[in-house]
C-alpha cells in the first residue's frame, strides 16, 4: 500500500527509508573498497605489496563494517516485518556471508602475527573477502527479484535465492568491489604497486560496465512494474540522466587513469556506484520486501521509529565527524614500516 495522506505515521517510514538507504550505501562504498582490496589480493605481485594493501585498510575496516550492522539493525527496528521475512528467506547466503566476514576480519590480526602460517591467513583474507562480496551480491539479486510471502511470513524454500540472476549479481558485485578496491589503492599507494592498481582498474572498469548493462537490461524483464516505471513517458525523460551519467563518469574515469590522477579513479568509481544504487532504488521504490510489501506495510509503530530517530539524528552526524577524523589521521600514502611503534 501507499499512504493516502501525509501524517507523522506515514512520513516517518519515508525518513527512515532514506536513512536506511544512506546507511546501506555507506556500507557498500566503505566496506566495498576494503573487501575489494581483499578480492585483488591473489593477483598482487609480491608479498610486500600484499602487506601494504592490507595496511592501507587495517585502521579503518572495522568502522566500515559497522555500517553493515547499522543497516541490519535499522531494518529490525524500523521495518521488523521486512526483517522477519527477508532474513529467514536469505538464511544460507547471509550465513555464508557472515562466515566469510569472520575469516577476513580476524585475518587482519592473525596474518600480521603469523610467520610460517602467514600464507593461510592470506588465503583467509582474500577468500573471505571474495565470498562475503559474492554472497552480498547474491543477497542483492535475490532482493531485487523479490520474496514469496503469505500473511507476512516467508513462504519460499531454502534455495529460493539460487537463480541465474542472483548468481550474476554476485559475480557483478565482486567486480564492483574489486574496482572500488583498485581505485582506493591507486589513491593510497605509489610506485609499482600503484601502477599495478591502475592496470587492474582498467580491466575491472570494463567488467563493471558490462555487468551494469546486463543488470539494466535484465531487471525490467523481472517485473512488469519496473519496466513501466523506466520506459513510460515522462519517466523515461526524468530517469534518462542515470545511464547518460554512467557513460560520462566511466569516460572521466578512463581519462583520469590516462592522466595518472591519484584521486580520480576512486572518486569516479564511487560516482558509478551512486548511479547504480540510484537505478536500483528507482526500480524498487517504495518496496522493502519486493514485489508486494512497501515500507508502510512493514513499518514499526511510530513510537519505535521516533525513539530511535532522536538518537540517530544527533549521533550519526557525530559519528561522521569522528570517522572523518580517523580517516584524516591515516591520510596520505601508506608506506612500508611507517607509523608503528617499535
Amino acid at each position: 500500500m501507499t499512504p493516502d495522506a501525509w501524517t507523522i505515521a506515514t512520513v516517518l517510514p519515508l525518513i527512515w527509508a532514506a536513512i536506511a538507504a544512506a546507511g546501506v550505501f555507506m556500507y557498500v562504498l566503505m566496506d566495498g573498497f576494503d573487501l575489494g582490496v581483499g578480492i585483488l589480493f591473489p593477483w598482487a605481485r609480491t608479498e610486500e605489496d600484499r602487506d601494504l594493501m592490507m595496511n592501507s585498510v587495517a585502521p579503518i575496516w572495522d568502522g566500515n563494517e559497522t555500517w553493515l550492522v547499522l543497516g541490519g539493525v535499522i531494518l529490525l527496528a524500523v521495518f521488523p516485518g521486512a526483517f522477519s521475512i527477508i532474513l529467514p528467506a536469505l538464511y544460507l547466503p547471509l550465513t555464508f556471508m557472515v562466515m566469510a566476514l569472520i575469516f577476513r576480519g580476524v585475518a587482519f590480526e592473525f596474518r600480521f602475527k603469523a610467520h610460517s602460517s602467514k600464507g593461510l591467513w592470506t588465503v583467509a583474507f582474500s577468500g573471505g573477502s571474495l565470498f562475503a562480496t559474492f554472497f552480498q551480491g547474491v543477497v542483492l539479486g535475490t532482493f531485487v527479484q523479490g520474496f514469496p510471502t503469505s500473511g507476512g511470513h516467508y513462504a519460499g524454500g531454502s534455495f529460493h535465492w539460487v537463480t541465474p540472476f542472483s548468481l550474476m549479481t554476485g559475480v557483478a558485485l565482486v567486480l564492483g568491489y574489486g574496482l572500488l578496491g583498485a581505485g582506493w589503492l591507486v589513491m593510497k599507494t605509489e610506485g609499482p604497486l600503484q601502477a599495478w592498481a591502475r592496470g587492474a582498474t582498467i580491466r575491472l572498469l570494463l567488467g563493471v560496465l558490462f555487468f551494469m548493462a546486463v543488470v539494466s537490461l535484465w531487471v525490467p524483464f523481472l517485473d512488469q512494474t519496473i519496466a513501466e516505471r523506466w520506459f513510460t513517458w515522462p519517466n523515461i525523460a526524468y530517469f534518462a540522466p542515470v545511464p547518460i551519467l554512467v557513460a560520462v563518469f566511466a569516460w572521466r574515469l578512463w581519462l583520469s587513469l590516462q592522466r595518472g590522477s591519484d584521486y580520480g579513479p576512486f572518486l569516479y568509481t564511487m560516482a558509478l556506484f551512486v548511479l547504480g544504487y540510484t537505478g536500483l532504488a528507482i526500480s524498487l521504490w517504495p518496496k522493502v520486501v519486493p514485489p508486494d510489501l512497501t515500507i508502510w506495510d512493514v513499518a514499526a509503530p511510530a513510537s519505535s521509529q521516533l525513539f530511535l530517530l532522536i538518537g540517530v539524528a544527533f549521533l550519526i552526524p557525530l559519528i561522521l565527524v569522528y570517522t572523518t577524523y580517523a580517516y584524516w589521521v591515516f591520510r596520505g600514502k601508506v608506506r612500508a614500516g611507517e607509523g608503528y611503534d617499535h
Binding site: 608479498e47 610486500e48 602487506d51 595496511n55 587495517a58 585502521p59 572495522d62 568502522g63 559497522t66 550492522v69 547499522l70 541490519g72 539493525v73 529490525l76 527496528a77 521488523p80 526483517f83 522477519s84 527477508i86 532474513l87 529467514p88 536469505l90 538464511y91 544460507l92 547471509l94 557472515v98 562466515m99 566476514l101 569472520i102 576480519g105 580476524v106 587482519f108 590480526e109 592473525f110 600480521f112 602475527k113 603469523a114 610467520h115 507476512g152 511470513h153 516467508y154 531454502s158 514499526a300 509503530p301 513510537s303 519505535s304 525513539f307 530511535l308 538518537g311 540517530v312 559519528i319 569522528y322 570517522t323 580517523a326 589521521v329 591515516f330 614500516g337 607509523g339 608503528y340 611503534d341
Partner: protein, 463 residues
C-alpha cells in the same frame, strides 16, 4: 530424517552467543585496563606503564577482532533463526540494538584504529582519548545489550497489538525490572574475568622471574580490583537472586531444584534433579539456609517447580549445576581476594610461589563463571523467549532443519578454528612477554616486509 529447527536453532544460538560472550567478557575489562595504564603513563611518565600498555594492547587487539566478527553473527541470528521473536518484538528490541550501534559500536570501531595504529600519528592526549573512547564504548555496549536481554526476562513498558509487542513507555522498557542488577552483575563479571587473566599472566611471569617490575605492578593492580569486586559481586549476585525470586519464580525454583512450595526450605548443596520424576536424587542439603539466602528471612516461602505446569518449567539439572559452578567460582574468587590481602599484610605478595601458582590456575575462572552464569539465566528463562509472553518454540524462523543443521556444523567448525587460532596467538604473545628478548627483536628486523600490524613481533620467529 526429521530435523527440529527449534532445537537446532537453540543449540546454534547458545553456541554462537556463548562463544561470542567470551570475548566481550574479556575486552570490556581489558579496554578499561588499557585506559588506566595509559592514563597513569601520561601522568607519571613511568616506563613500566607504557611497557604494560604495549603488551596488553596486542592481546586486546586479537580478542577484540574475534569479538567484532562473532558479534556481527549475532545481529543476523535474530532474523535468520528467530524471526518469530523479531516479528513480535522487533519494534522494541530493534531500537535498543539500534542505540547500541550508534552509541557504542561506531565509537569503538572509530577509535580502535587510532588506538591500535596511531601511537606515533596523534598527540599523546588524543591517543589516550581514543583508548578511553573504546573503553567507554564497551561499557555502553553492555548497557544496551543487557537492556534488550533483560526485556526478554522481565518485559515491561509494552502493550500487545495484533499479536505483536508495541512500545508504550520507553523508560520502562530500557530500565526493565531486572535490568539494573543484571547490568552491574555482568559488568562486574567482565572486570573480574579480566582481572584474573591479568593476575594469572603476571603470576606466570613472576614464577619465571621475567619482567619482574612490570609483572609486580600488574599483579598488584589486578588483585586490588579483585579484592574490591569479588565481595561486591557476591552482594550483587544476592540481589540478582532476590530479583529472580520476584520476577521469574520458576527459574529460581530450577536454580535451587525445589519441587515443592514450602516455608522452610533447605539449601541443596548437591543433588541430581530428575525432571520426569519431579524429585531430586542423591541430595546433600543444609536445613533452613535456603529460605535465609533466598528470602533473607527464616522460614521465607519459596515457590516450588510443581506450582508451574510441566510445560512451563526450565530444564532443571543444567540450570541447577551451572548456577553452582558460577557461585562456587565466585567464592573461590573471594578466597583469592582474602589471601591477597593477607599476603599484602605480611609483605609476601610477590614471593609466595604457591599463591602465584594458585592465581595462574585461576586465570580462566572468570570465563567459566561468566558462561555458567549465562547458561543459568538463559536456560532458566526457558521455555520462554520473552518471559511469559512468547514461547521459544513460537519464536523460531520458518527455516528448514537441514539448513540450520548445516549452519550449526559450519559454525562449530569455524569457531573451533577461530578459538584455536586466537588462543595460539595470545599464548605466543604472552610467551614473548612485555619486553621481547633482544634476539626476537633482531629476528623481527631481519624479517622481510615487516608487517605493520600491531604486535611488533613475528610470532613464529625466535620462539
Amino acid at each position: 530424517m526429521d530435523l527440529d529447527p527449534v532445537l537446532l536453532s537453540r543449540f546454534q544460538f547458545a553456541f554462537v552467543v556463548a562463544f561470542h560472550f567470551l570475548f566481550p567478557a574479556f575486552t570490556i575489562g581489558i579496554a578499561s585496563w588499557l585506559a588506566v595504564l595509559e592514563g597513569l603513563y601520561l601522568k607519571t611518565k613511568r616506563a613500566e606503564y607504557r611497557t604494560l600498555y604495549k603488551f596488553w594492547i596486542k592481546i586486546f587487539a586479537v580478542s577484540f577482532g574475534v569479538g567484532v566478527v562473532t558479534g556481527i553473527v549475532m545481529t543476523y541470528q535474530f532474523g535468520t533463526n528467530w524471526s518469530g521473536l523479531t516479528r513480535a518484538g522487533g519494534s522494541i528490541l530493534g531500537p535498543l540494538l539500534g542505540y547500541e550501534v550508534v552509541t557504542a559500536f561506531f565509537l569503538e570501531a572509530g577509535f580502535l584504529g587510532i588506538m591500535l595504529f596511531g601511537w606515533d600519528k596523534v598527540p599523546r592526549i588524543v591517543h589516550f582519548g581514543a583508548t578511553a573512547a573504546v573503553a567507554v564504548g564497551t561499557v555502553i555496549s553492555a548497557f544496551w545489550i543487557l537492556s534488550a536481554n533483560s526485556f526478554l526476562h522481565t518485559p515491561a513498558g509494552y502493550e500487545v497489538a495484533d499479536g505483536a509487542l508495541v512500545p508504550a513507555d520507553w523508560l520502562a522498557i530500557v530500565f526493565s525490572p531486572s535490568f539494573p542488577v543484571r547490568f552491574f552483575h555482568t559488568v562486574a563479571a567482565a572486570y573480574l574475568t579480566t582481572s584474573f587473566v591479568i593476575a594469572g599472566v603476571s603470576a606466570w611471569f613472576l614464577l619465571r622471574g621475567r619482567s619482574v617490575l612490570e609483572s609486580r605492578q600488574a599483579f598488584s593492580m589486578a588483585l586490588w580490583l579483585i579484592t574490591v569486586l569479588a565481595p561486591v559481586q557476591i552482594f550483587i549476585g544476592d540481589q540478582a537472586g532476590l530479583e529472580v525470586r520476584q520476577n521469574q519464580p520458576a527459574k529460581l525454583a530450577a536454580i535451587e531444584a525445589h519441587w515443592e512450595t514450602s516455608g522452610d526450605v533447605p539449601l541443596i548443596l548437591f543433588a541430581w534433579p530428575d525432571q520426569g520424576g519431579e524429585k531430586n536424587d542423591f541430595v546433600l542439603e543444609v536445613p533452613h539456609l535456603g529460605s535465609l539466602i533466598l528470602t533473607h528471612s527464616w522460614g521465607g516461602t519459596v515457590q516450588g517447580l510443581k506450582e508451574f505446569p510441566a510445560t512451563d518449567r526450565p530444564p532443571v539439572a543444567i540450570v541447577f549445576w551451572a548456577f553452582r559452578v558460577m557461585v562456587g567460582l565466585g567464592f573461590l574468587m573471594l578466597g583469592a581476594a582474602l589471601l591477597s590481602l593477607w599476603l599484602r599484610g605480611v609483605g609476601r605478595l610477590y614471593d609466595s610461589r604457591w599463591f602465584h601458582r594458585f592465581m595462574l590456575a585461576m586465570l580462566p575462572s572468570g570465563f567459566v563463571a561468566v558462561i555458567a552464569g549465562w547458561f543459568t539465566t538463559e536456560i532458566g528463562r526457558q521455555p520462554w523467549a520473552v518471559y511469559g509472553i512468547l514461547r521459544t518454540a513460537d519464536a523460531v524462523s520458518p527455516v528448514s532443519g537441514g539448513s540450520v543443521l548445516l549452519s550449526l556444523i559450519l559454525f562449530v567448525l569455524i569457531y573451533v578454528i577461530l578459538l584455536g587460532s586466537a588462543v595460539y596467538y595470545i599464548v605466543k604473545l604472552v610467551r614473548i612477554g612485555p619486553e621481547a628478548p633482544e634476539a626476537d627483536r633482531e629476528e623481527v628486523l631481519k624479517t622481510p616486509a615487516r608487517p605493520l600490524s600491531l604486535p611488533d613481533e613475528s610470532l613464529e620467529a625466535g620462539e
